[in-house]
Symmetry: C2
Subunit: 216 residues, 2 copies
DNA sequence: GTTACAAGTCACCGTCCGTTGACTTATAAC
DNA sequence: GTTATAAGTCAACGGACGGTGACTTGTAAC
């Protein structure tokens, strides 16, 4: 027994493990209570470590949080959920699928919600970097749709900017507010379906209008 | 001179005036620095009064802020900007005008921006009340558009929920982030116009599609 | 002017929180 | 085992902030 424990034993003091525990706790707290709850004492308690270690290993509370954000590129994570193989084309139904996927993912990811709120709440170079990376990824997608919309009356990027923004706002709004938006209750199955259907409709309108105006 | 001063003199100690100063300072600070800067000391300093008065007159810091929010119904203010006389009808161009008006107003009202961010950041019964009132107001507008969309394939409320939400998010995003959204820079004249044009297009699509599907 | 009271001032308390210095203890090399 | 060093503990500092008690001063009624 004792020898077995000795063979498989893990050292009680392990800097790397402790660092990971702290980083992991940042994620857990961010998910549960939001960025406002990212206090040194709180994080340390969650990791069952002394908060001093935050300063030993990451220099400051901000250093720890930065390290966490660097290790976890959420935007990439979101987008990647929507595709397995590289796309060669971007037809309307694929765009609708991606947008619905964004809605559903964000809806179920309190961590992402908090990060988006954070992004709206203060200037943070690190969050900006992450946003830039998302933009770079999005650009690759739009390259695929360009052929549908080049020379048409439709600005597909602008329409998507509107729809993505709408999705973000609606989900953040629904977290604390039970109120409807223009009579739509985004938390109800019915409301969600109404929104989804309208998103779908708008995307299809884009493709139709593009075809019409392109052929002029 | 002295007698004139006596005639027109204002008392140095005036509870109501002090209360108003405090309320006004809440608005000024909210506008300049956001709801996070609503600290007792900060507000009192801005009003050039002692912070004790906040507690004397409003019971607590929260009491002061609540009093401020009750006195200033922002949502109503926003919406009312868009109309002088009661509307009898809600054609597409009027809807576009209202949405563009919302964008422009919010863009130039840091106070509103902060309140929207606040609404996304925490549960607050008072903010909920204000939102409810906005919904009631919006409902009156939608009643006017109902005749265009009843029995059609278009859910006009859902489309407007998307567009209004998009406007809110985009403006909040632009406050601290220089990044584009789907390649659109909402802070530039060009980006704004692209967004405006797409909003306009979507609204017109709604009316067209409604006409088509209604006549089936 | 005197006086009573409200308006306003000031120093202070308790709490939360980021951060730190000085300490103890586990680990690994010898 | 001895020892050096890194890992981890603990208590405390200092600043920010909401809130309060006791004081001073302006105002208005007499």
């Amino acid at each position: 027994m004792k020898t077995e424990q000795r063979n498989t034993r893990v050292p009680k003091r392990d800097k790397l493990k402790s660092m990971e525990k702290l980083l992991h706790s940042v994620g857990a707290i961010l998910q549960k209570d939001g960025y406002k709850a990212l206090k040194a004492q709180h994080i340390a308690a969650h990791a069952k470590l002394d908060k001093k270690l935050i300063y030993n290993y990451f220099g400051s509370l901000g250093g720890l949080i930065d390290a966490y954000l660097k290790k976890n590129d959420f935007w990439k994570r979101t987008e990647l959920l929507t595709e397995q193989a590289p796309l060669a084309d971007l037809p309307a139904n694929k765009v609708v699928e991606i947008l619905k996927g964004q809605f559903t993912f964000l809806e179920h990811s309190p961590e992402m919600q908090h990060i988006i709120l954070w992004e709206l709440s203060e200037k943070n170079p690190l969050l900006q970097e992450i946003l830039d990376e998302r933009e770079r990824f999005g650009e690759q997608l739009f390259k695929l749709s360009d052929k549908y919309f080049r020379g048409s009356a439709v600005n597909f990027r602008a329409v998507n900017a509107l729809l993505v923004s709408a999705i973000y706002y609606i989900i953040l709004h629904s977290r604390y507010n039970t109120n409807t938006i223009c009579g739509i209750d985004a938390t109800s199955k019915k409301g969600r379906e109404q929104l989804f259907k309208s998103i779908e409709q708008i995307i299809y309108w884009c493709y139709q209008e593009a075809e019409r105006t392109r052929n002029q």
